[in-house]
Symmetry: C2
Subunit: 179 residues, 2 copies
């Protein structure tokens, strides 16, 4: 988990994040098809709108999980990082525009099954610079997102309470809806 | 959190503990009065029976939390460890007999607001040698037990998933019953 303090001017450290933010509906946005075609794919606003058309308005307090399919590459670091001859990584991520829309909805965290919520080629970590100063946390390298429905699961994100930490290891559980 | 493998012949490492064991009713046994009189106090079977007389049979799947009052000494290491002139620590803990009774009830973990589920003067860690090989986990140095009711709270214990770890850091949440 990245806490807001991971990217100043974000201020709140991992031990200061309100406990209520660790519990929320899981909004799973599936972009496996898009990412399979374009490893540099960034989540589009229209894709978020499509989720809402299917499942309703994203509720405040939600935790968004971007399912890119990258989790299936773990633990093979070569394909997970997907580095080109120039040393640039290629994996999908959020876009600043989509992150801003999700922040308008009042979500408390952004998660992903890759190394970073910013796409691999990012040099400036644009999404980190928007969402962390806005008080959100990030969950990166998430496992087993393929087991979650797009809507209806409930997430518990439990970071270790490191005093003054800008982030740290985190156990994440999903409670699935009744079948 | 101590996983069973922390004390062989306990075998299961922290990443192998069934996830369902991390969720359960919190059975809070308050021995602050006893521990205030005797720093070497060990939980008696009769005290467990008294809890059951008040709150009913301890349900299988529960996590037991021994509230000794020691949490109030934190972070003062001198009073928390309470070492005598011979270097022996003095703080309360479980007894083997009480641990065995709780294991008969099917509880999945033993927690405490001191440094160890074994009392401070223990040299052989008798309770560790009984409950961990029995498949239970231990939660030590718990905070804020004073905010829990003796019955009715629900516990979530979220250890970091360290591959092959005999234990590790753990975030613990209690969900309180409606007031």
């Amino acid at each position: 988990m990245d806490a807001p303090a991971h990217f100043p001017p974000g201020k709140i450290t991992v031990d200061e994040i309100p406990v209520t933010h660790f519990f929320g509906p899981a909004v799973v946005i599936d972009v496996q098809a898009e990412a399979a075609k374009d490893a540099d794919y960034r989540l589009r606003v229209t894709r978020v709108e499509k989720w809402e058309a299917l499942h309703g308005h994203i509720p405040a307090g939600s935790i968004v999980l971007l399912r890119t399919g990258w989790g299936a590459r773990w633990p093979d670091q070569t394909s997970y990082r997907n580095m080109d001859a120039n040393g640039a990584m290629h994996f999908p991520g959020y876009s600043v525009e989509a992150a801003k829309l999700l922040m308008e909805r009042g979500v408390v965290g952004l998660g992903i099954d890759t190394l970073s919520i910013d796409y691999g080629e990012s040099k400036n970590f644009e999404v980190h610079r928007v969402d962390l100063p806005g008080g959100l946390f990030n969950l990166e390298n998430l496992a087993n997102l393929d087991e979650l429905p797009e809507a209806g699961a409930f997430l518990i994100a439990a970071p270790i309470k490191l005093e003054g930490g800008s982030g740290g290891p985190c156990r994440v559980f999903a409670i699935l809806p009744p079948k």
